[in-house]
């Protein structure tokens, strides 16, 4: 495929590996955090890690929206189905994320919905009769709302800045069409805020430089990272998701670290500009605004790190339309997802990995999502490596 195959060429990968080997200073250790799960998967799927000198370490970041969504929000979504009898539209990964243990008493449920027992998930709620639809696009959710005028249809919106504009489009479209049975359970989160939270943590993980997000940056541009790089003195290279992009970006970061620079550089120039997609940004800021704070799995409460619907679009806000109490929920005992999401632990440090936690029976979100670090270690045979 054009724009994919060229960026996976083996001979170029070998050449880049040679350039990296030559550029590294053998007396120092390079800790590069790839923020996005998409990069984590490229690193393992294409064996990029094995092409790196031993003193170049990739630290996996929290850039997987399914992984960072707190369990309480999954519980909220399950409640929407079980207690409010809505049609819930969701991106597919989310349906398998385990929610809390237990469920509501049967008496509180509509007669058509049976109680799902044990640790609940949207998939179990669906199996118990809940109307949960897996969608590809927000346009699908709008269509379901049009086709079911007598039912409440809720879009379970999650994702970083990449996935936010399509939600904004759907909300505007619903308002224009007067689609009053449609609403959005908004869980959109922001990348730069999470990067700051990682470095501001009380016991921050040692990170020398960042591989910056690919498609998030195609929307927000390179500019939002500039103050970050300056303030924290950390180099950032916006990197494409193909293996050669990752290698070239690692090389650029290594050169910056060797030179003592901390700039924002853009490797992914074919899709990312300094200003980003201004049309998408305008749509998002017209419809959504910052929440004062939002909980991230693994990172805790982060100020100004998520979005909610603006007052003008309040009619389409599921959190206002339905009674949705904040739910505090705990992770599965032994699950290291929180520490893995902070970069403090690697998936192989988790005792559950590959034993009780597998993609077929995930205990934590990092194994569920196709972008999760645990799923990458499992899928590409890194389970038993130290």
């Amino acid at each position: 495929m054009k724009y994919i195959d060229e960026f996976r060429q083996q001979n170029l990968a070998k050449q880049l590996a040679g350039a990296i080997a030559q550029a590294v200073d053998p007396n120092r250790h390079y800790r590069l955090m790839e923020f996005c799960g998409g990069h984590t998967h490229a690193i393992f799927r294409y064996g990029v890690q094995d092409l790196m000198p031993t003193n170049v370490e990739f630290i996996h970041g929290p850039g997987c929206p399914v992984c960072v969504l707190p369990i309480g929000r999954i519980d909220n979504a399950i409640q929407l189905v079980e207690q409010h009898d809505v049609i819930l539209c969701t991106y597919a990964d989310l349906v398998r994320v385990p929610g809390s243990a237990g469920s509501r008493p049967a008496a509180a449920l509509p007669p058509s919905v049976a109680v799902a027992t044990g640790r609940n998930s949207l998939l179990k709620a669906k199996a118990a009769g809940g109307d949960i639809r897996m969608i590809y696009s927000t346009q699908d959710a709008l269509k379901i709302a049009r086709d079911n005028p007598c039912k409440q249809v809720v879009l379970f919106a999650i994702g970083f800045e990449t996935t936010t504009p399509p939600t904004a489009v759907a909300i505007k479209q619903a308002q224009a069409e007067g689609l009053s049975n449609f609403s959005v359970f908004c869980n959109h989160v922001l990348t730069p805020a999470a990067m700051q939270a990682i470095l501001d943590a009380p016991e921050p993980v040692q990170i020398d430089a960042f591989l910056g997000p690919s498609h998030v940056s195609s929307v927000i541009g390179c500019k939002p990272y500039e103050t970050f790089a300056e303030h924290y003195g950390k180099p950032i290279v916006i990197a494409g998701f193909e293996p050669l992009d990752v290698m070239q970006s690692a090389l650029m970061l290594i050169r910056q670290l060797n030179d003592g620079r901390h700039e924002v550089e853009n490797e992914y120039t074919r899709a990312v500009t300094r200003d980003g997609n201004l049309k998408a940004q305008a749509l998002v800021s017209e419809v959504l605004e910052l929440r004062p704070e939002f909980e991230w799995r693994g990172l805790g409460l982060i100020a100004n790190s998520a979005l909610k619907l603006k007052e003008t679009y309040a009619d389409f806000d599921a959190e206002r339309r339905f009674d949705m109490p904040a739910i505090q929920a705990s992770d599965v005992k032994g699950c290291e997802c929180p520490a893995i999401l902070r970069g403090a632990k690697k998936p192989q440090d988790c005792k559950l990995l590959g034993t009780v936690c597998t993609p077929e029976n995930p205990m934590g979100s990092c194994m569920v999502s196709s972008e999760g670090a645990c799923a990458a270690y499992w899928s590409y045979g890194r389970v038993r490596q130290g």
Partner: protein, 75 residues
């Protein structure tokens, strides 16, 4: 979640802001609500049913040249 695939625009329906694109030969309908100034034949990044950005061909060529250049300095 943030994955996006390069797709070539085949046909545009300007009134509906929709387009038929080809993703590696597979035809998909996507929304053009987030992009301006795209034409049949252009490559766009497609994410959850929306064209997110136009892919800049010149920049892609430059990046590939950069990879090759890195290799030259290494050998």
């Amino acid at each position: 979640m943030c994955l996006a695939l390069p797709a070539q625009i085949q046909q545009i329906d300007a009134t509906m802001q929709m387009a038929i694109v080809s993703v590696g030969g597979v035809k998909v309908e996507v929304s053009l609500a987030l992009v301006d100034d795209v034409h049949a034949g252009d490559y766009v990044l497609v994410h959850v049913g929306y064209a997110l950005n136009k892919i800049d061909e010149d920049e892609a060529i430059k990046t590939l040249a950069l990879f090759a250049e890195a290799g030259l300095t290494a050998s």
